[in-house]
């Protein structure tokens, strides 16, 4: 039997990141997928990034992941969302050509010398002595492993719904992993159902583009990954249209034919990404809902109408689409559908995304109840990285809520669980002023280098940037008097007093560009460094207010709670708290504090008990 330290099951966004990060760390990895040509497929909209999600792309990229570079390779439209707001919530997003994106992912997968792609359906996990020892494929092949990473997306027990129709599968015309789902259920893993949906795909040649407002690609030349030197593809535009009262009437008249309303689907869907029938039913007073028409690629006429995910029957989909401005003659290339799938209760996972009760089994991506390529990719990276660290005997990278969105997501998932598909939002990150998309590399690449998962090229690039930063910060730390500033042509009054150059940048008319022009700070040699440092300065007073909170957090993070911590023995915890804590099994006092419903007083009780336990042990 062949043995791999790590076997990754599934070739989606989570699977490829998990497999590649472990391979980058030098481990032999098998990536098992039903169809190797579908590796890196985008199941839903052809966009990567967005609000909160753009942060995840940059963070994965900071660990030398695939997502950012593949997004640039496929990008045919760039848009920096939220540009009118503070930079911490800017959301880089691209529309990507599906074919180019997938090809870039497969190329990276193929280039990893220690990564082997194996085609086949995983029929079951081999579990011995409470540990995962290998997997068996449907064709009878047996593979042994030390760790398996489940990245099955919507394929685990997936069922598609469209009007009165039902299909088994994870995507249209692809089979579901039904046998694996059965085994996991039989092994009494905590599984539940969620649903999500996708809109119909349209033939762009039948859209009346001339009638619609367009949104061109951003003119400035930013890229998803700082390693991508430039934009490689021709840029196209997106267009916008709206639903109207006629459309709403058609949908309302057919609500009973939607599986969401007929009772066929009872799993919870995402509140922030409702189907069009949900929008119309729940927010009936609105006279229209925006639709973005996003091109699926350069050499395909397919268009993705963002905003009208639906599982209504095909005839209703066609009828309401043709009532929309610009779509009067539209041809539906592939109708929309809803998909209901199994997910694992993520509270059964620890912060490395490993099952607490099944050593060696990691779960990443939609199987954990999330939605989105970016969320999946980031979890794949976290799971693969931690599995590799464990097997190679390395220290885990110190990810926490104050240094990454990735950790915010994993923390939320493993402590709160999910009641709807989880999507990254900047609102979830309480320390978001320090977690910007444009400083992801500064925040995380040092951890990535320590873990040994970045290429030589990225490491050199990072070090050059750090050197430039040090020089810049040295210059900004030097004190300058008002008269010195005036001599150099800046408006400065004496009451400002002598102060570090960095503080001078708070005054109007003084910024890094001007300071570089007069030679007070080095000129920008590293792209984006000046704006990153300027934003650090801008938010510094607010970030400083976090310090006390963070000290407490990090102190509490160090107070470990054993996996078998007897919550029921802690005096003063209500039954409900005991139940929640016992189910979630937080690994530290800080984590316990983030379990919903746990009050500061309960934490104090836990702390006392944890201390007593340590003292007694």
């Amino acid at each position: 039997m062949r043995h791999f330290p790590i076997i990754v099951i599934g070739g989606g966004h989570a699977g490829v990141e998990a497999a590649c990060v472990a391979a980058r760390m030098g481990l032999h990895v098998a990536l098992v997928t039903m169809d190797a040509t579908k590796i890196g497929a985008m199941s839903c909209n052809p966009a990567i990034g967005g609000l909160g999600k753009g942060h995840l792309v940059r963070e994965v990229d900071a660990f030398d992941g695939l997502l950012g570079i593949a997004a640039d390779a496929g990008a045919i439209h760039y848009r920096m969302l939220n540009r009118s707001k503070g930079s911490a919530v800017w959301g880089p997003r691209v529309q990507a050509d599906r074919r180019l994106f997938g090809a870039a992912v497969r190329e990276r997968v193929a280039s990893e010398p220690t990564l082997e792609v194996i085609e086949g359906e995983v029929a079951g996990l081999r579990i011995e002595g409470g540990k995962v020892r290998g997997v068996s494929l449907a064709d009878g092949m047996q593979l042994a492993c030390d760790a398996a990473v489940l990245c099955t997306g919507t394929f685990l027990g997936g069922v598609l719904f469209r009007g009165e129709e039902r299909f088994e599968g994870g995507r249209i015309a692809e089979g579901a992993a039904a046998r694996l789902a059965r085994q996991l259920r039989d092994a009494s893993l905590p599984l539940a159902r969620l649903k999500t949906g996708t809109p119909p795909r349209l033939d762009g040649r039948t859209i009346d583009w001339a009638r619609l407002a367009v949104q061109p690609s951003d003119p400035d030349q930013w890229t998803m990954s700082p390693l991508s030197k430039e934009r490689v593809n021709p840029q196209v535009f997106c267009a916008m249209t709206r639903t109207n009262s006629r459309v709403h009437e058609i949908i309302r008249a057919n609500l009973s034919r939607s599986p969401l309303y007929s009772g066929a689907i009872d799993a919870q869907g995402p509140r922030y990404c409702p189907s069009i029938e949900d929008k119309i039913d729940r927010f009936g007073d609105r006279d229209g809902h925006q639709i973005f028409l996003e091109p699926e690629g350069l050499d395909t006429p397919l268009v993705y109408p963002n905003g009208i995910s639906t599982s209504l029957p095909v005839d209703v989909q066609e009828a309401f689409l043709r009532a929309i401005e610009g779509l009067e003659q539209v041809r539906v290339a592939e109708p929309g559908y809803a998909v209901e799938y199994d997910h694992v209760d993520p509270r059964s996972l620890d912060r490395s995304l490993q099952m607490k009760d099944l050593e060696g089994l990691y779960c990443a991506g939609q199987i954990n109840g999330t939605t989105g390529y970016e969320e999946a990719a980031a979890q794949g990276l976290v799971a693969g990285l931690h599995a590799a660290c464990r097997i190679a005997g390395r220290d885990e990278p110190g990810l926490d809520r104050a240094n990454s969105y990735m950790a915010v997501m994993v923390d939320d998932l493993t402590l709160h669980g999910v009641s709807e598909p989880y999507r990254m939002l900047t609102a979830r990150a309480e320390y978001r002023l320090r977690l910007r998309a444009n400083n992801a590399s500064s925040r995380l690449t040092p951890l990535a280098i320590q873990a040994g998962c970045v290429s030589e090229a990225r490491r050199r690039r990072f070090e050059a940037r750090e050197e430039a930063r040090e020089a810049l910060q040295l210059a900004l730390g030097r004190e300058r008097s008002p008269s010195e500033m005036r001599t150099l042509g800046f408006a400065a009054t004496d009451d400002a007093g002598r102060q570090p150059l960095g503080d001078w940048t708070r005054y109007p008319g003084i910024d890094l560009t001007r300071l570089a022009e007069v030679g007070l700070v080095p000129r920008e040699t590293e792209h984006g460094l000046h704006s990153e440092v300027a934003e650090d300065l801008h938010y510094a007073p607010y970030v400083a207010r976090h310090e006390a909170e963070l000290r407490e957090l990090r102190a509490n993070e160090k107070i470990a709670l054993r996996p078998d911590f007897p919550f029921h023995e802690v005096p003063g915890l209500s039954n409900e708290m005991v139940e929640r804590l016992s189910r979630t099994r937080p690994q530290s006092l800080a984590q316990a504090g983030r379990v919903p419903g746990i009050t500061p007083a309960a934490l104090a009780a836990l702390l006392v008990h944890a201390r007593k336990h340590v003292a007694a042990a």
């Binding site: 939002l425 900047t426 983030r594 500061p600």
Partner: protein
């Protein structure tokens, strides 16, 4: 009579042993209290409150026995023999809080109420203990959550999907309104004032009769009175209740600019500090020469040379007691006016600090242009209110967000 309360999982067993069997829940029964070794101890009313619907949230029992010390000690010894221990001060309240029977504000108010000594203290704290304060804070928290949701909606959804834009300019004025309501709370003296009493400082130049008046008010010789200028070198405090209002009476060193020795100078500087901390100043010096806002008192009306002060002033003799009843009733009137009134909420200094943080953050949120900073300020405000109530959560904010807006694609 004495009441012995027992709380914790062993309560039922203890009551069983001492009273023979458990009475019906929440019904008083007359029982013979017997110790397994020592035998009959007393005849007493016993009550049984199974948790969680008891005062502490745990199983509770009460023994209403005779009040003689020997009886109480015998029952306590008997309970100790069963492995029970004396509760620490405030432990029942702490347990009630930990078991979710009351929140932090209620627990603090209850603690204050238990140590309340005057009728006014009790009446005000009773309203806090019944949760009036918590309701108000919870109400503010709701308002702040809504404001947060509006800001986060702008930050996380508006550009991604114009569809989501539900104009909510109202959050700024809501934040300002809540900040104003908080300011009204903050203007009320802290709850500690109720416990410690309103600070009444007697001040004036040396030999103006401060200590005599101090003693007359207290009706006890607490301060040394002598005709040598500068006898009172330090501030002396005494708690006193006047007309049901708690006061802390403070005698100070006489204020003079020259002729004071080192120790007296320190006393004078303390007196200055006392004046700054005072809620009420009784000014015994020349009219109009004291700090602003004082009550002018023409003291020593028994002396050979004496002149009354102007309108609104008081005249008093510490020797004859003349004018003292008027002084007392003026103090009690001022006290009732300045201290929290029954039905008004009194919060502790610690809670006031949190409230002040929340208020400042709300104002900042309403002022700043950068929505990110507004979001951060609102988060800090939420944090402060959560700390007041002892609750937590970002999820609440998201629920509020998703409940109100049609967002997302």
């Amino acid at each position: 009579m004495a009441i012995i309360r027992i709380s914790g999982p062993g309560s039922g067993r203890a009551l069983n042993v001492l009273a023979g069997r458990l009475p019906n829940s929440r019904q008083a029964s007359l029982r013979q209290i017997r110790d397994p070794q020592a035998g009959w101890l007393d005849e007493a009313l016993v009550l049984w409150f199974p948790g969680p619907s008891s005062a502490t949230g745990e199983d509770c029992a009460e023994i209403h026995c005779h009040g003689g010390r020997a009886v109480i000690r015998a029952i306590e010894n008997s309970l100790a023999g069963l492995g029970l221990r004396q509760a620490e001060p405030g432990e029942f309240t702490r347990r009630a809080f930990l078991n979710g029977r009351m929140d932090l504000l209620e627990a603090e108010a209850l603690g204050d109420m238990l140590s309340a000594e005057t009728e006014l203290q009790r009446a005000v704290l009773a309203s806090s203990a019944k949760g009036h304060a918590s309701n108000e804070v919870a109400h503010w928290r709701e308002a702040v959550l809504s404001a947060s949701a509006a800001v986060e909606q702008e930050l996380d959804f508006s550009d991604d999907d114009q569809d989501g834009i539900a104009p909510t300019p109202g959050w700024c004025s809501d934040a300002r309104r809540v900040a104003e309501e908080m300011a009204a709370w903050l203007a009320v003296p802290p709850a500690e004032r109720l416990r410690e009493g309103l600070r009444v400082v007697l001040a004036g130049p040396p030999n103006s009769g401060k200590s005599s008046l101090f003693n007359a008010i207290l009706d006890e010789a607490a301060a040394i009175v002598s005709p040598i200028a500068g006898t009172t070198r330090d501030a002396i405090e005494r708690p006193v209740a006047i007309g049901g209002v708690p006061f802390l009476l403070v005698d100070t060193a006489g204020l003079r600019d020259e002729g004071a020795d080192e120790i007296e100078r320190i006393g004078i500087s303390r007196a200055g500090q006392e004046l700054a901390r005072a809620d009420v100043v009784l000014w015994l010096g020349p009219e109009g020469e004291g700090p602003s806002g004082v009550i002018e008192v023409a003291s020593m009306m028994d002396a050979a040379v004496w002149a009354p002060k102007g309108e609104g002033s008081l005249a008093v003799s510490a020797v004859t007691g003349e004018g003292l009843p008027e002084l007392m009733s003026r103090l009690s009137a001022v006290g009732r006016d300045r201290l929290p009134k029954p039905g008004q909420v009194a919060v502790s200094r610690r809670q006031k600090q949190r409230l002040e943080t929340a208020r400042l953050q709300l104002l900042e949120a309403a002022e700043v242009e950068d929505l990110l900073i507004a979001g951060e300020a609102l988060r800090q405000a939420r944090h402060a209110l959560d700390a007041m109530l002892g609750t937590v959560g970002t999820e609440d904010m998201l629920d509020s967000l998703f409940g109100r807006f049609c967002i997302g694609k």
